[in-house]
Amino acid sequence: MLQMDEIQKRLLDEVAGLHDVPTGAYNLRANGTSVGRQSTASIDIESKEDGSGLEITVKDGTKNESIHIPVVLSASGLTETVYNDFHVGDDCDVLIIAGCGIDNCGRQDSEHDGIHRFWVGKNSKVKYVEKHYGSGDGEGKRILNPVTEVYMDDGSSMEMEMVQIKGVDSTERKTVAELGADCHLVVRERLMTHGVQEAISDYDVRLNGDGSSADIVSRGVARDHSYQKLDLKIVGNAECSGHTECDSIIMDDGRILAVPSLEANSTEAALIHEAAIGKIAGEQLTKLMTLGLTQAEAEEQIINGFLR
């Protein structure tokens, strides 16, 4: 059993759905140190020599295996930057579950900056799930600044699910991807900000190989006095197709800036962007109220559905 306190266990459940040690390869990090680790025959997890993070190596041909690397912080005033490198071999099919939960009841800011870099081998498939969560009623802020870099070799595909629904005061996330021939990248991002939170999400996706494609959809809800900036950029350098969609609900005194951008450097690049910001449609509220919900309950249902 893991040596973790109740708060840490609760955070682990929020970000990774874990109640105990997971099956497969894992590394659990709590308050700056590893509290549990397991490699498997085909997935190797090692600390970097300088102690700055993890080197994770997935052997060629590894199929249907999972890697859990959640991080929980329950101490106030802890600031850390972690570099985790994933080397996924050729012809693999793996699920990677990351995520960070911060509980800050103290007065000092707590911050976790996770830099995740992926090298995805030829014809490999990776599903990457990253959830961020914050709790605690201290004055200290809960700050998460993740960087995700993806380098995809020919024929590989990656699906990324990025979720930040609650409790993170400030976040600046940056996602960079470079795709070779016949690579496919799908990103589903969901962001909700409330209070005076700020979230900035920046994507730079480069379609370098013929037959490559990217589909990036970001859905956000900004409530209270919160602010979101969504900067979604796709660059088409070959015969490729790219789509970005930024769909946001604005409430109360929230503010949202959507900056979709496309750059085509090849006549064969087909790129599309969509962006929409608006309040909850009045007729949606009306419909749910005719089914017996109060206005507040109807809003909650609409937002939960939107961010599903």
Binding site: T286, M289, L293, G305, L307
Partner: protein, 247 residues
Amino acid sequence: MLELKNVSFAVDGDDGEKEIVRNLSMTVDDGKFVVITGPNGGGKSTLAKLIAGIEKPSEGQILLDGKDITDLGITERANLGIGYAFQQPVKFKGIRVFDLLKIASGQTITIKEACSFLSEVGLCAKDYIERDVNASLSGGELKRIEIATVLARKTRLSVFDEPEAGIDLWSFQNLVRIFEKMQTETRDSAILVISHQERILNIADEIIVLSGGRIEHQGSRDEVLPKILGTEAAVDACSRLNGQEVI
């Protein structure tokens, strides 16, 4: 019993105030099937919205079982047992058919129970239950799901605004059967339907003809139907098919 007493509804237009519903009084008795018909722009949909609480009357009173509900909101009226099926079903992002039926039933229902409501409206439940209620569904499919949400509520007074629009002839029969079943299953429940369809007028206990915001005729089917057959208020299904109503 639903009662409307001297209800008026006006909106501000470019050339001053415009009355959509004028000094209208009517009752819908328990267990009755009442059809409201009349020319387009006659105030029928506005009347349905006034009953559901989506619009508030500028004058007059609305009573349900003798209780004044004029100042109650949409939610409160829904919880008193008023159901309302939209003429144009609302689309959502991320809300599934199952979610909508679960909310409508007001309790935790199983997938099996939710599926039974879809089967009622002629949809193959397993193909629809997990689908999002969005534009990927056709107008006819959305319309049937809309009717299913009202079925799931098992309300005492159900208001349907042109339920047949977008529904083909086969399911038209089905629709009539649904109304009959609703009245058998929920004792003393009343149904108020806005429709031009002769087939629906034919099963009405009472017919109200609304024109220019006023009641032109009101009475039993046998009294009213002969007066309006062949007019815009009552069209047969085939002439309707020639129009753009069928999706």
